[in-house]
Subunit: 193 residues, 2 copies
C-alpha cells in the first residue's frame, strides 16, 4: 500500500470536513495509522500536505465531473448533466462524492485569503480548469463570439449554487441555477451546419 496516497486521502477527508487550521497533524496521523516520521518523510511541512490534498481533490473532481458530463450527452446537454451532477453532490446521491461540505477550493481560499499565497493560487487554478472543461463542451455548439461570456456566466451560476447550498442549506440551488443557465445557452445555440 502506498503510504503517501493513503495519507493524502485521509488528510483530505478531515481537512474538507473540519478545515485546515482547525485540525492538527496528529489527528491525521492517528486517524490514518501512519507514523509522524513517515509523514515528514513524504512532505516537508503541513502546507505541502495541504497542497497535495488540493491536487488530489482537483484530479478527482475533474475526473468525476468530466465523466458525468460525457455520458452520452453532447453540447448543451452536457451542461445540464453538470448541474444535475452538482445537485446529486449537494444531496448525497452520488457515491463518487464525499458528504457535501461546500467546495474544498472555496473553503481553502477562505482560509488562505491572500491571493498571492500558493495554496490560494492552486484553488484559482482549479477553478480555471473547471471553466476550461465547460468551454470544451460548449465550444462546438454555441456561437464563438459569446463563448467567453457564456463560460463566465456558467461559472458564476455554478459557484453561486455551491455557496447557496452550503451556507443557507438550499439543496435545490443547482436546479435553480440550471433554470437560469438553460435559456442563456438556448439563445446562443449555433445553427447546425
Amino acid at each position: 500500500m502506498d503510504k503517501r496516497e493513503h495519507l493524502v486521502q485521509v488528510a483530505f477527508d478531515i481537512f474538507y470536513r473540519e478545515g485546515v487550521h482547525a485540525v492538527g497533524i496528529n489527528r491525521i496521523l492517528t486517524e490514518s495509522g501512519v507514523a509522524k516520521k513517515t509523514l515528514y518523510n513524504h512532505f516537508a511541512s503541513k502546507d505541502e500536505l495541504v497542497a497535495a490534498t488540493l491536487s488530489y481533490r482537483d484530479q478527482r473532481f475533474l475526473n468525476w465531473l468530466g465523466e458525468r458530463m460525457a455520458t452520452g450527452q453532447a453540447g448543451i446537454d452536457a451542461l445540464k448533466a453538470m448541474f444535475d451532477a452538482l445537485h446529486d453532490w449537494f444531496n448525497g446521491e452520488d457515491a463518487g462524492q464525499p458528504q457535501f461540505n461546500g467546495c474544498y477550493f472555496i473553503n481553502l481560499s477562505a482560509e488562505y485569503g491572500d491571493a498571492e499565497h500558493p495554496l490560494h493560487q492552486q484553488c484559482s487554478a482549479h477553478k480555471r480548469a473547471v471553466q476550461a472543461l465547460m468551454r470544451q463542451h460548449l465550444s462546438a455548439w454555441v456561437e464563438s463570439g459569446v463563448l467567453d461570456q457564456l463560460v463566465d456566466a456558467l461559472a458564476i451560476l455554478k459557484e453561486g449554487a455551491i455557496v447557496q447550498a452550503h451556507v443557507t442549506g438550499d439543496k435545490n440551488a443547482a436546479l435553480k441555477a440550471w433554470a437560469i443557465a438553460e435559456p442563456l445557452l438556448q439563445a446562443h445555440v449555433r445553427q447546425k451546419d
Copy 2:
C-alpha cells in the same frame, strides 16, 4: 471609548483578513491595546467574540447595502445599484467597505462547516437577511408569482460573483452577474397600473 466595540472592530478586521483559526487572541489584544482581562470580561470565550464580529459585520453590511440601494433608485434600478455596489467593493472603490477579501460569512461558513454550529447558522441568517432586502425592493415591481424565483436567482448570482471575484480574482464578476440578472428582471416587470 467603548472597549467592547473597539475590540469587535479590531477583531473583525483581523479575522476577515486572515481567518479565525489562523489568528490567536493575543494578536487581537496587542493590536487593539486592550488587556486580556478586559476581553474576557466582555466575552466568555473566543467563539463569543467571533459571534460579535459576525453581528457587527451583519449590521454594517446591511446598512451599507441598504443605503446604496436606496439612493434615489426604485424597483429594478435598486437591484442594479446592488450589483454596482458589489463591483465597487471588489475593486476597492467604496470607502465604506474594507479591502475585499471575499464574503466574511462565506469564509466563516468554510471554517465552521457544520450546519448545526451556531456560527454557521449566524452566517446563514445573514444571507437570509440580504435576500429579504432584495425581496423588499422587488416586491412592488415584479409579478408576485415569480418573486421567490427571482430572489433565489439574484442570490445565486450575487454569491457567485463574490466567489469568482475572490477565488479567481475576476474583479468584473459583479458586472457579469448583473448582465444575467437584468433581463431576468425585465421579463417580469409588472405592468404599471
